[in-house]
Symmetry: C2
Subunit: 138 residues, 2 copies
Amino acid sequence: MSDRRLGRHILAEFYNCNVEVLKDTEAIENYMVEAATKANATVVKSVFHTFNPYGVSGVVVIQESHLAIHTWPEYGYAAVDLFTCGEDINPWIAFDYLKDKLEAEKAETMELDRGDVNKIQTYSHNKYDKIVYKQQIV
Amino acid sequence: MSDRRLGRHILAEFYNCNVEVLKDTEAIENYMVEAATKANATVVKSVFHTFNPYGVSGVVVIQESHLAIHTWPEYGYAAVDLFTCGEDINPWIAFDYLKDKLEAEKAETMELDRGDVNKIQTYSHNKYDKIVYKQQIV
């Protein structure tokens, strides 16, 4: 259990993907839900939307935060966010799976901490004894 | 119209918020949808979930990407993502509105480009004539 932050957030840029996959809302939703499952997350709800003429936006709300995707088939590009909490989840498994399924030739990523424990303490005037991510029961 | 990137993404950390607001799923959903509207975004769908014993996760899918929130009432903390596309949307209006409604005493933010146009061109071997964000009709 990390005591440094509540969550971690991977921002991924997928370039030169398979354009047909990026247009396929059903496939994208399946891949995103499967990515969450493979990363050991618990899926709460998912919502996906197809744009006209093409492009998919969707989010999988997981018990441990969310995964989001926006695709631009016209440019072979997808923006993906993998925000997870707790040390039982590995968002990089979701990343690897999606990179493979989108057939991204190139990917760039950034990983950021969310909910820095020291800052939560400092900015709340040290009112909390101990700050940890607790697995929440739905 | 920016020709540098398709979207912009504000990651916001809200500290020492009003704990009762952070527990109130209905209020949080209303604030998030209103934040999107005030920023000039078009709301497509929203999905919110209440955790036991408390905490809210939710996403507003907008035509121009998404807004997401995760709250930890037990620590007065909320993680917010404001990902918007196009120059007609100002995500900072959504940020200011939410900071006010959550009564965050302190906020930290980072703004990142998503879909860097030069990288999309480079990594797709310059196959596109011109890359711009086009307002998509649902």
